[in-house]
Symmetry: C2
Subunit: 453 residues, 2 copies
């Protein structure tokens, strides 16, 4: 499974809920979240949640698509698949069969920055889950007999999810245009021609380099105590030897961008045209203090839901658009992206929708946002956080994704305060600085013969 960063924005939005309810206790005490590191370098995070007899066991590796060697695109995601193929101790399928047998569920996902595996089970099955997970951390058996058929599976996955979907093809080439140098340019699933060449040696080399306790974070959320998890972790993951020391995760960064770009896909399979406009912007990990939070609120005010400016102006008032919104993808290790999207209603020309959206961009950059808008955006974030604790796997994801992209437990816990501290001036400044048409990349998805002019 492949996930973008976008999920994390919402998840981070949820992250602070516990804290808001818990003031004036110290954040960490309030959330009850604890973290410690085993001797072999594995960081462990425990998120107690005793409302139901359920536990989520998630192991996060600090490696994703953007860490792949040039020419080896798709290997991170390929390895995610191969992790289900059996070890010397447990043949292929045994782990998954066991999860099903005990009524649990499991999955895994790969992004540009991390790869994660999880099971949700009853607490008394946690030791077994940890044993299986620790076993496949270093014990995977990668033979050609396993590699060949699974490569066919990921190639088929690409065909289904990208090549058969014009919107996905456009997204891929828009991303390749948006980033001129950074590997976020390259799709996590991989370029088809490179996926076809991935072999056993590539998989072994990637696995041996990156799958190790000192490159992982274990997040356990649910009906457990920190002491219990620590004991279990010592008995299972604690026995996995430390892997090789890894160099810092330094990827090629973007140069200064000076041009506006467009990417157009015209395809008979498209029935409704649409456009998307994107910019490279800092992420939570590399932004100047407060700027990522301002970008989050900017995206909320500009295009987060039906009360946002874009939706109100383009969809509700003028009726020209069928949809319109904005997003901030700031959950990566390196520079993320900010974008808007819209789709015309009926016979409205895409160019008219774009002009209307551009006018909103210009307006927010020149006039800023009102205190009232800002307060309501902050409150929407806060309200959504109230529900955070209701989903222990969401909580586990927030911690795992943050800790594998340069963040800390403290970053998560003080995030609501940082959101509250954003001023209207900071939102305006972020809009003025980043939503610059002369550096934008616009994607057009057009039905065959559609004229966007």
């Amino acid at each position: 499974m492949i996930s973008g960063h976008t999920a994390r924005r919402a998840l981070l939005g949820l992250a602070g809920a516990a804290l808001l309810l818990a003031s004036p206790l110290r954040a960490e005490e309030a959330s009850g979240v604890s973290t410690f590191t085993l001797d072999n370098g594995l960081q462990v995070v425990v998120i107690p949640d005793h409302r139901a007899p359920v536990v989520t066991n998630m192991i996060w590796y600090k490696v994703g698509g953007a860490d792949e060697k040039p020419g080896k695109s798709g290997i991170a995601h390929f390895l995610e698949h191969l992790m289900f193929k059996g070890t010397g101790k447990h043949p292929a399928g045994e782990f998954s069969a066991k999860v099903a047998e005990i009524g649990g569920n499991e999955n895994a996902f790969t992004t540009q920055d991390y790869t994660a595996y999880y099971q949700q089970v009853a607490p008394d099955s946690l030791p077994m889950m940890m044993e299986f997970e620790a076993d496949r951390m270093r014990g995977l058996v990668l033979t050609d007999a396993v590699i060949g058929p699974e490569r066919d599976v990921i190639i088929e996955e690409r065909r289904m999810r990208v090549d058969n979907d014009p919107g996905a093809v456009l997204s891929e080439e828009l991303q390749a245009t948006l980033y001129q140098n950074h590997p976020y340019r390259i799709p996590v699933i991989g370029w088809l021609h490179e996926m076809k060449t991935l072999d056993r040696q590539d998989a072994v080399s990637f696995y041996e380099s990156y799958y190790a306790p000192n490159n992982a974070v274990l997040v356990v959320a649910g009906d457990v105590t920190a002491d219990h998890v620590r004991a279990l972790a010592e008995q299972t993951f604690g026995k996995v030897p430390r892997g090789p020391d890894l160099p810092p995760r330094v990827r090629p960064q973007e140069p200064e961008q000076n041009t506006s770009r467009t990417v157009t896909l015209t395809d008979p399979r498209v029935s409704v045209p649409s456009l998307r406009k994107a910019w490279v912007v800092p992420s939570y990990n590399d932004a100047p203090k407060g700027e990522a939070e301002a970008l989050d609120l900017l995206s909320e005010i500009l295009g987060g839901g039906i009360r946002s400016r874009l939706y109100q102006e383009l969809v509700v008032k003028s009726g020209a658009a069928a949809s319109a919104g904005a997003y901030y993808d700031g959950g990566g290790l390196d520079d993320g992206s900010f974008g808007i999207y819209a789709s015309p209603r009926g016979d409205t020309k895409l160019a008219d929708i774009e002009a209307a959206a551009d006018a909103e961009l210009a307006r927010i950059a020149s006039d800023g946002v009102t205190e009232d808008e800002l307060e309501r955006a902050k409150n929407r974030f806060v309200r959504s956080m109230i529900f955070a604790r209701d989903d222990q796997s969401d909580m586990a994801r927030i911690y795992g994704s943050t800790l594998t992209t340069g963040g800390t437990v403290e970053d998560i816990e003080n995030w609501p305060d940082r959101i509250r501290a954003v001023t209207a001036d900071a939102v305006k400044a972020a809009a003025a600085r980043y939503l610059d048409q002369s550096r934008s990349v616009t994607g057009y998805l057009l039905p065959a013969k559609e004229d966007r002019s």
Copy 2:
């Protein structure tokens, strides 16, 4: 000095001249060119030319910008500069001073695929040139005292040649958009933010990996014999120990491209707008048999000089354009590019010029070329070849650039026959296959406030 591939197209055009005049002798005998390899792996090519007492000594390394590690852009060109900084035997400046003292000239250049150094001197100075050149092949002294100031020089070179020239900035970002995966995306001079970080260790590592006799080609053209050059090469380069074995030069290749893209730079420094439209196409090294030759002739017929279709239609007949032409950059190790360019005359809109150029592209793809046009294009190539032998450094460049991008001496010698064998159908097929608007990348260079619509 940085050179694109484009030069090689013209040079290759010149390459076969000797052969055409020499039939029915065997090509190699006719040209008198000989090649041999020293025990340490250095390939040597000798091109006798006894008309004047001059000799060109060129050493070519099979490394260029596209071989750089991610994040280290500019290191190949930086090393070209550092090669003038002195060795343990000869302090900085001594080699250049000696060349000047004997009335010779020298230079060096770096492309995506190779780096070359040459001196043109009287034949009796050849041994000394070879001694100097062999000495700096492995004997360079790279200290921080040398690195820092020279890094300032290349940064200043970038500022002058790229950042101060809107056309160069646009070319850079167009190239970064044209190639979605291949390192030809990255400028040879380097991205500024990466150039700033290049340090002694980067230079040493690059030098030690790539500067070695088994990764080089020595080309000597002029008033010399093969036996004499062989003896001199043995005495000088022959004493340089073989370097580490290098893996094959496999770079990440392009995925299938599915979108049309535009890249626009609006800049107050631009006085005359212009456009360029480019496609990724095969190179001589990776094209199916005959296709690179067809692309060469296509570019000649479409836009090679004042008798070409684009020039005749846009400049001469309609008078709408001030300039118009086409190029095929097929001299690289990997996929090259095909492009057209045009600039409006007076108040003509850029969009009108583009429409007129697009019409010519559509016409040549649907109707092909006439036998007469094809014959004249071949003859223009042939006529330009007549002059090839007149410039021994051009001859040296042809051999050096071909031998460092996957070609052979034989490829050069039978090139005229391959050009002659191209049919009108092959040219039409190349146009229809590659000049596809839905996969093109168009660059617009606009004066501030210019409206291209």
